[in-house]
Amino acid sequence: MGATIEIRSLAKTFGVGTGAVHAFGPVDLTIHSGSFVSLLGPSGCGKSTLMLMIAGLLEASEGEVFFDEEKVAAPRTDIGIMFQDNTLVPWRTVEGNVALQLELRGLDPRAYAARIRDLLRSVRLEGFGGRHPYELSGGMQQRAAFCQALVHEPDTLLFDEPLGKLDAMTRESIRTDLQTLWMKQRPTVVFVTHSIEEAVQLSSTVCVVTPRPGRIGRTIDIDLPWPRDLEVKASPAFTHYVREIQGIFHDYGVL
């Protein structure tokens, strides 16, 4: 089970003086251990900024973040992180890229050979371990990046629109992978997205973020059965959640 993340009065302002941009907050939020929380909002609302502050990769202007009551003061190294633009390097193969996560941590990738193989198989990349990223489709690259983010067995995962640049079919299939993993291991997941449907399908809780300066406008627990397959997505309850959130964005003037 993953960490419990406490966010207290967190805010971010970029720049100083009259040119300063109040990007985000203040936000108070508790992300419970083992939950899948989506930060759902329009582009530019600061949801990625919030994710970076949770990871300790960006300093907050005000407020604090706690991982299991431990204050975040430096980049967290016990997390797995994924961005919209993947962090695969072009000079390494798929396997080499997954191993890069380990090598940067000073771990011996040979000790993880079986885990790397299993991970690649779990996202249907068996047989592609020796290929370079440029030989793969966008969806396969993102699957490889997924393995890279997971190989060191983090129990907290931070995803910043990892499916943002993929086509609808590929998105659907990677969502299923993601959901399967989460149901099996129950890490704490923070998932930044601007797709309402994606947030409702994957999350135990959806945090609706307001336009800039971003705040958590509403927190909605999604009470739908798992796994959220096509049948669940076709159900009236699913549609109800999507409509409800669309209504909220409509009130914000976004939709």
């Binding site: 962090t87 390097v89 072009p90 890069l100 940067l104 941590r105």
Partner: protein
């Protein structure tokens, strides 16, 4: 299945494949070859047709004949100019890359030395050549220094750019692993910087022979620049052209080496990929 495979033509051997590939390459480049040969034929016959005197413009065949007669000296001087170019070039890389890394990673240098370098880039470095000849004489050293001077800036400026432009995502990814600066440098920053570094290396390779030749024009008793200078002074354009031909070979060899190094070091880069 056996029926099908037995009716297939046999796999060609490696020699046949290589010959086929070479023949194909020649066939594909025939427009270039035709133009190349046509150019020299046109030169040859234009000189004969218009009765251009040999001390103004010799024919290509004359250049080959006279050059061949002086081949030991031409080879000797090619080695001299080659030594100056290669030494200066390697020295420029050995100094330019670390300087580029230092400026890319250290804020105070980026605020002081970097703008100074950018403004120096506007100065035609070759204008310093007479000064170095005056200070250091006719030997190898002033030529090497001039080559360093014309090669250093493209190397250093491209290195600054190369090491200072890792994507936000990769920078954050590295930080989230807790890797130290040194490990991040070897595993990520250095390989990521190589393609841009090679842009500078290639540009500098073109400069290297130019620098060495001009330095020899200004004060020297050997080398291809010296040879061309003397030949022109003696109204022997045939020998000057022979010297230019060897300079071209030298430049091609240097550029070929750096292109090969690029192929070996960054085969993954988009400029190196086949298909």
């Amino acid at each position: 299945m056996t029926m099908v495979s037995s009716s297939m033509p046999p796999e060609p051997g490696p020699i046949i494949r290589a010959v086929t590939a070479a023949a194909l390459a020649v066939w594909r480049s025939w427009p270039f070859l035709a133009f190349f040969i046509g150019f020299f034929l046109a030169w040859e016959y234009a000189v004969i047709l218009f009765k251009v005197p040999g001390y103004i413009l010799p024919t290509p065949s004359e250049i080959v004949r006279r050059g061949w007669a002086d081949i030991p000296r031409l080879i000797d001087y090619t080695l001299v100019t080659g030594m100056e170019s290669v030494l200066g070039y390697l020295l420029a890389i050995a100094v330019g890359v670390p300087v580029g890394v230092a400026i890319a990673f250290w804020e105070p240098l980026r605020r002081t030395v970097y703008p100074f370098f950018v403004s120096l880039e506007m100065v035609p470095k070759i204008a310093f050549a007479p000064l170095f000849i005056a200070w250091l004489g006719f030997g190898l050293l002033p030529k090497v220094i001039i080559v360093v001077l014309v090669c250093f800036f493209p190397v250093a400026l491209n290195s600054i750019h190369a090491f200072g432009s890792l994507s936000d995502e990769l920078t954050r990814f590295c930080r989230s692993t807790g890797a130290g600066r040194l490990r991040t440098f070897w595993k990520v920053r250095l390989p990521a910087a190589l393609p841009q570094c090679f842009v500078g290396f290639k540009y500098a390779a073109l400069n290297a022979t130019v620098g060495a030749t001009i330095a020899e024009f200004m004060g020297s008793d050997q080398g291809l620049g010296f040879y061309i200078n003397i030949a022109t002074g003696n109204m022997r354009p045939d020998l000057a052209f022979a010297g230019i031909f060897f300079l071209t070979l030298l430049g091609l060899a240097l550029f070929g080496c750096i292109t090969l190094a690029e192929k070996l070091l960054i085969p993954w880069h988009i400029t190196q990929r086949r298909h």
